[in-house]
Amino acid sequence: MKRSRRTALIATIATFVVAAALTTTGADAATRSAVNPNGVLKYARDLPNAFGDNFDPATEVNDCSYGVTNLIFESLTRDGSNTKVSGGVAESWEVDASHTTVTMHLRQGNVFSDGTPVDANAVKASILNIKKSPLRTSLAIITTIDTPDPNTVVFHLSKPVAGDFLWALTYIDGQIVAPSALTTADSKPVGSGPFMLSTYRPDQLISLKKNPKSRLASQYKLAGVDFVQVGSGPQAVTALKSDQVDMIDLRPEDYPTVKADPKLAISTTPSLDYTMIQLRQDRAPFDNDKVRAALEFAVDRQEIDRVVYNGRNEVADQPFPKGTAGHDPALSGKYSYQPKKAKKMLAAAGFAKGVSFDMVIPAGAPTFERMAPLLKNEMARAGFTVNIKRVPGGQILDTVYLHKESNAFLSVALTNGPALWNNFQSNYSQGGFVAATMGSRRPEIEALVSEARVSLDPKVFGPPMLKAGRLIMQEGLEVPLVFEQGMVAYNKARVGGPPKAPIGSCRSNLEGVFIKK
């Protein structure tokens, strides 16, 4: 009896396994038959703003260029998820107990598009070249690089920040340029990524074609990608609706228009990026921690999500969203909109008549333009009088940070990837630009960041980040509002895959995307 049961169980499992395999094979076959092998994706991009007229990771100054160059150059490690880093040029790595030595094992047989091997010497030369850029600060901590054999690269770091380092290597900092192109990569990039540069017309078109030598060639089903110049916002939506492009990055304000069009589809990805209010903490009124704490109860995050983000995002009542190691369930709902409580807190802090302050928003940015009046009204009911100041994007650095105008700044914290602390270094640590200019340095958070950045293991960085999140909310060091999910919109009849939105702004994720026959 027992034997027959076991046999039946084995037979059932075997049936499921075979069925699953057949289903998968069937799905793959269906996808293969739908793919146009010569299909080129036309992807709208506001090139003057989102591409720095330079393909070289060592000299480009626009971080958003990564959205294009990550298809040409492979990085040492790879993003694609908010919770972990996977292998790129390096297949695997080990970090020593002191978190100051990272040993990377490169993939064997990997070649650049010019046919030369992606070996340890090539990696070392490329990283040392990129390290010269003042923008690539994550590489400044490299003291030496050893190449004991052609497939191993050992990085010695001056500080125990291996976690930070591994995350930075997913980005421009870790892009590996072929030795033959180290001095010409600005216009003639050579990498081991799935695509190669085919045509470049500044501010008009970046045309990439498949790199048949790339190890990733089979994972990318497009014959090419054309990044077509289209201004962001309504122009991009119009270009998509008029079939001039196949895919666009979608902004929240354009969501209803795209959603209403049956021939278009939207793909979303949860993001760690969140809109937030930065506070100047070295002068009144936000030098008073009780005033800052009251401000956390003076914003209606649910209402902002509903009105500005079409009610589709997660509200940010702490710096980390659900599902991440730094998220504290105890904080969920704690900082709901409570204007009476905020008023009482202000009165207790000695501001019975309320508090008035200036808040800068980036001029003409539709998301912020929609959010600002909401915040103003919500805060007014809680005893805060806000004077909105619009500053053009190019002048924010000077106005807010260098000339220290205004008490608050409505901005976005770009925190994609598992390195949850990457904003906190600038915002709260000694030497951090924002900390220095906004007076927001907090040694206790700095200590927690130091504890976290040693590793990308959630068990290591999770607990200190959880403490940091609590501290930030308790002391009102910033006012997180809403986590902004990544969104792309595409033409359903043309594009298959389906596409996945990138995990953060200035990134792209075209793996598995194809043009239909």
Partner: protein
């Protein structure tokens, strides 16, 4: 005529010098330090900022910077962009055909609309045709070009997929596609110009047709068509040409909104990009080139005016 042109050209020298000084000085009023952005913005290191400021000569006196810039500009070198590759001169050269095509196309549209409408209205004053043209031209002047551009895009690109809504194809790559990409932006840019032209021509024609010599020509039995084409239009053309010249010069520097809407890589979008990043050499170069073109087009208009009306040469 030669003396008139020589006098005008000579007067341009101090004017252009003044413009170059103004352009350079104006840019210094723009808040912010590009060296901070180049050094990494919020990640900037103070020592790196100082190094970059020295490298860009931003630590020199204003006059030293101006002298250096002017010397290079006179030899055709407008410098190198701070954040982009290549030279400003070559970038302007690459983008100028886009803006020039737009401006010429818009002027063509203006002429296509303005001349027949102006003649019809001017030769039939007080009739329903005149009133229709007057209302139409008022509407044409009142409609903003960016609004018209959006309506045209929705109608011709989104709804009936007849014309492209974005992009630019150089003439030498494909004349057909070049024209296709220019139709909507040129209509959007040229409609208001056409309306202005029609109003101007109507007024001039009514004035001219009321002159004694026209009455004499009629009394002598000249046909109305001949009177209009050979006598009235030539005299009415002078003020119209001034308007047209000014419109063309304005368009060479004022197409940036249309360039943005249609994602065209002209001088206007280049300038907007430079303003957002405070790329001083580009801003200086584009403003200088635009100002020089404006001055030269005005000179051409003056010469044309003097040709049509020799009395002007005496002033």
């Amino acid at each position: 005529m030669v003396g008139f042109i020589a006098r005008r050209l000579l007067a341009l020298v101090p004017l252009l010098l003044l413009i170059s000084f103004g352009v350079f000085a104006l840019v210094l009023l723009i808040p912010g330090d590009p060296a901070v952005t180049l050094a990494g913005g919020t990640k900037a290191n103070p020592a790196e900022i100082i190094r970059i400021r020295h490298q860009l000569h931003l630590d020199q006196s204003f006059l030293a910077q101006y002298g250096r810039w002017l010397g290079h500009a006179l030899s055709g070198d407008l410098g190198r962009p701070l954040f982009l590759r290549g030279s400003v001169t070559s970038a302007i050269g690459d983008r100028f055909p886009v803006t020039l095509s737009l401006a010429l196309g818009a002027v063509f549209v203006s002429l296509l609309i303005g001349i027949p409408a102006g003649i019809l209205a001017g030769t039939h004053p007080g009739t329903w045709l005149d009133r229709f043209m007057t209302v139409g031209s008022s509407l044409g002047v009142a409609v903003p070009d960016f609004w018209l551009a959006m309506i045209l895009v929705v109608l011709f690109a989104v709804q009936i997929h007849l014309l492209p809504s974005i992009g630019w194809v150089p003439l030498h790559t494909s004349p057909g596609q070049w024209l296709e990409h220019l139709i909507l932006p040129c209509i959007a840019l040229g409609l208001a110009g056409g309306a202005t032209l029609a109003r101007q021509l109507r007024g001039s024609l009514i004035d001219v047709l009321d002159q004694d010599y026209i009455r004499t020509a009629r009394a002598m039995g000249l046909r109305e068509r001949e009177i209009i084409s050979r006598l009235a239009l030539k005299n009415a053309a002078a003020p119209t040409m001034t308007i047209l010249g000014l419109q063309f010069a304005y368009l060479l520097g004022g197409t940036f909104i249309i360039e943005q809407i249609f994602s065209m890589p002209g001088i206007g979008s280049y300038m907007l990009q430079a303003i957002s990043t405070k790329d001083l050499p580009i801003i200086q170069g584009v403003v200088l080139v635009t100002a020089v073109i404006f001055v030269l087009v005005n000179l051409a208009v003056d010469i044309g005016y003097a040709y049509l009306n020799p009395k002007v040469q005496l002033t």
